[in-house]
Symmetry: C2
Subunit: 594 residues, 2 copies
Amino acid sequence: MAYRPPLRDYGFLFREVLKLDDYAMVPSIADAPVDLVEQVIEAAGEFAAGVLAPLNGVGDKNGCKLDGDKVTTPPGFKEAYKQLVEGGWPALSVDPQWGGQGLPYVVSVAFMEMSSSANMAFSMYPGLTRGALAALEFGGSDELKNLYLPKMATGEWAGTMNLTEPHCGTDLGMLRTKAVPQPDGTYKISGQKIWISGGEQDFTDNILHLVLARIEGAPAGVKGISLFAVPKFLPNPDGSLGARNTVSCVGLEEKMGIHGNSTCVIQHEDSTGWLIGAENSGLKIMFVMMNEARLGVAVQGLSQAEAANQAAADFARDRLQGRSLTGPKNPEGPADPIVVHPDVRRMLMNSRALIEGGRAFMLWTALHADLAHGHPDETVRTKAGDYMGLLTPVLKAYLTDKGFATANDALQVHGGSGFTEHFPASQYVRDSRITMIYEGTNGIQALDLVGRKLAANGGRAVMSFFAEIDGFVGGEGRDPALKPFVDGLAGAKASLQEATLWLMQNGMANPDNAGAASTDYLHLFGLTSLAYVWALQAEAAQAKVAAGDNDPFYANKLITGRYFLERMLPDAASHLAKLKAGSALMMELPAEAF
Amino acid sequence: MAYRPPLRDYGFLFREVLKLDDYAMVPSIADAPVDLVEQVIEAAGEFAAGVLAPLNGVGDKNGCKLDGDKVTTPPGFKEAYKQLVEGGWPALSVDPQWGGQGLPYVVSVAFMEMSSSANMAFSMYPGLTRGALAALEFGGSDELKNLYLPKMATGEWAGTMNLTEPHCGTDLGMLRTKAVPQPDGTYKISGQKIWISGGEQDFTDNILHLVLARIEGAPAGVKGISLFAVPKFLPNPDGSLGARNTVSCVGLEEKMGIHGNSTCVIQHEDSTGWLIGAENSGLKIMFVMMNEARLGVAVQGLSQAEAANQAAADFARDRLQGRSLTGPKNPEGPADPIVVHPDVRRMLMNSRALIEGGRAFMLWTALHADLAHGHPDETVRTKAGDYMGLLTPVLKAYLTDKGFATANDALQVHGGSGFTEHFPASQYVRDSRITMIYEGTNGIQALDLVGRKLAANGGRAVMSFFAEIDGFVGGEGRDPALKPFVDGLAGAKASLQEATLWLMQNGMANPDNAGAASTDYLHLFGLTSLAYVWALQAEAAQAKVAAGDNDPFYANKLITGRYFLERMLPDAASHLAKLKAGSALMMELPAEAF
């Protein structure tokens, strides 16, 4: 069965959990009443399911081809991109100043999830453009912004990020690409960049590469890195295309997945670039793009879990094999559908609890992006901004680790069929695998969380988050049916608080303790966050049930939430125990012993 | 760096943990003193590393080709198979009666691990032959055995298992392939079988397919299934090849991994077959092959973890990126090797603790296969046979779930490089993925454990296993340094016993409770088994350390074992909590809600 956009879940989250209509003080939300948002989401779902999903397997099987420096994307991608642009989808939450529609970020996130579920490799092309646009909007001169942003907002031009070099990925301080100032104020950029997603393609007239490079004579390390705008074609001041720049794709990577996206080796040979922002402030601006991209990758993790789980559920309902342990459920048939088997259910329910919790967590955080950007109250903006900083690494690593695990469970539901390429399960596993790596590996996210985000502003963000949870837990007059959710949340939060204290006490004394604890801490943080948004969802669903609404959606939501509490939340204790083991045994073996 | 056979670990396990030389009462072990075993293992390691490993990537990239009904294996495979046969490797633990070397099963397991680490797709060809040989040896007539076994023992002829049909895999009761008795005592077999590993290849003169089929008029379901020997070429009584049989490969599967192994669609069109054993007793005989194969798959899981982890360790020592959190460890270089980072260590140490524990668990169980087969004391044989039955599903599912997870961690250590096909990491992930599925999915293993193996003979096997652990835990006069191992084992065993009681009380009342608990129960069983063999290894290593041996091998073994206790064993509590949640929430949603 084809991909089915989760419209009902979005409606529930927007109306009943996030209560978007309560935020009329935020201009972008005020301009987009929930009825309008739902119409946009529905149209986005149609585009994703109708245009992008049919090309997902095509992209995987055909991949991208390089001929000279020309990249040919898989059959149908070019036409789909044309439809993407015609539908105005790239501009969804771009500032109207640049021709965007200015819709709230939560709407953009829903669009990203659906288009990525339908076709992750395709959706990366506009995804990277969105990130480049955000960085240029943040750090670029008016001249650069006026020249590029309107065309990037529509998708007429694309954007990429050129960071990694063969000898340096995570450690950007080592990068060697150099920039030589020219008398006319431009720079000549030379060097090789690898793993450039969408670095070349056949659907836009121009591509703006945002390139990290070192200006001759700049300080060593990360303090000497600047960011440059390097277009494929040098635009004339009126926006028409001028000469071809000396930047080109000289190779395509063979990869485990996302075959439909071109992963390019990009060669800069005295290519012409314009400085973005001040000299040596490249990393700061690039991190605007990076944070945007990290949230996008979190959504990708969620999106692959959703798509894979839909395929698994379809298979589990159709495949007849064996009989229920409690007697035939399909007595007229030769066997029961495998959805009757508890261990198949275990995988489907784990997936569902992760997906519905993960989507709520993602959108709850996205709402804070809207609040951070447009709420009139500075206190609210500050707190929302704190949450964004704190939760970005959690969302990125937790949702991609779990997204991959969910895709992997979905493959397992398929049995042997899942290992063949006749079913989509293998592609979801292979495609989702990159999300744990790019835009900072999940280990880097965990370090960012324990090493930077926890300590920032004296721990203000995490204390706000704990206070918010305490406020919920201490809420009075609540429906007794919600008690398991409140208790589960309180327990998880206590574990997370204990872990946070342990980190404060032991991470200072020996930073390796913080590193050794980081991944378990991040997962404990993810579980606790899911416990919170599951409690919010349960409260909304229970209110409907208590009011006599017998839409099974609400009853199923409560069952899935309780499943989360009983079958997934127990991992919190295990993460706490592991992280408190410290770093000594982890670091004791000499490197040569491995 | 190339694959390095873990010879030191084998020596430790054979000499100091399993103490093979204590089993002189077992003829196969008496005939193979440890010195001889080590020579064999060393030569096996040379063959695996020198001949098979260089072809692993070749097989992945080239795959198998089908032209008409002829399969061409990847470049080099045919020559490697010739060397395999010339080296006498297929006959390692085959009964000398059939021309085998009669070495203990533990030796065969070590060979399987190394050859599969070096090249899993290649090693499946002789692996399937071994399984077919075992089934024929168990159930075949003397005529069939004399005709086929000597040639299968040398590898001159190959064997396959033909079970699955498009509409039935796990549920063999539905199979439709039919067998029509002929006046000469043979049968005409007709039907299509899928996913037949090594169903056709280009390196043996003949292939013996063991085929499950239904004799016309046989009872419905699993009670009406018979097993047939269906050779590709009908042999003359002297073993020379006669006419081509009407069995052929009509398709190859496109798969996520193991591209070097041909996964065939096999068409039987009135092909000539010989009944193996009695009519309608096919499943019983096939399960001899299946149990052998399940242990082989457990070894595959281990093998991919080992090979992937070697690649990850090499990468982590070589790749310079970032600085240690506690100050530069490679101050002259541009950055430190990533092995200094705790989160990279976490993955390498998890892998190591799993691999060294898993190898000990595998070989400890394999020793019991030798005892079950050849110990003079019936009590010992019975107990060893009980362990084999009980632990086969645990080994298969636990070592393949964890083998895949380890391969996946190894990819993560590689960062972006791991996602490209220029490094071997992706292949290990893709190849190992099938081990969780074939020879019975891991969910089926878990059901076999809770539904059959626990209850068999009134629970005799699990009670023996618990008594053995209690005996160890209660041991007196032990070195105090072993206390953490004894305590960890006692705690895990208490959890497993509590889970077993819960299953007895709740699985009877509602079989769905057993199904819902099965996978967590199996993982708890696997963890407890690893805690036991880690305690055995620690005892052996500590004895050396206490005696003043300063070979770092022993110190590292103890560190790795303690890491297992502190960083992996905490999952035991989480499995126990989850399984005790029961099946109610898991089964509550209607199928259409998924």
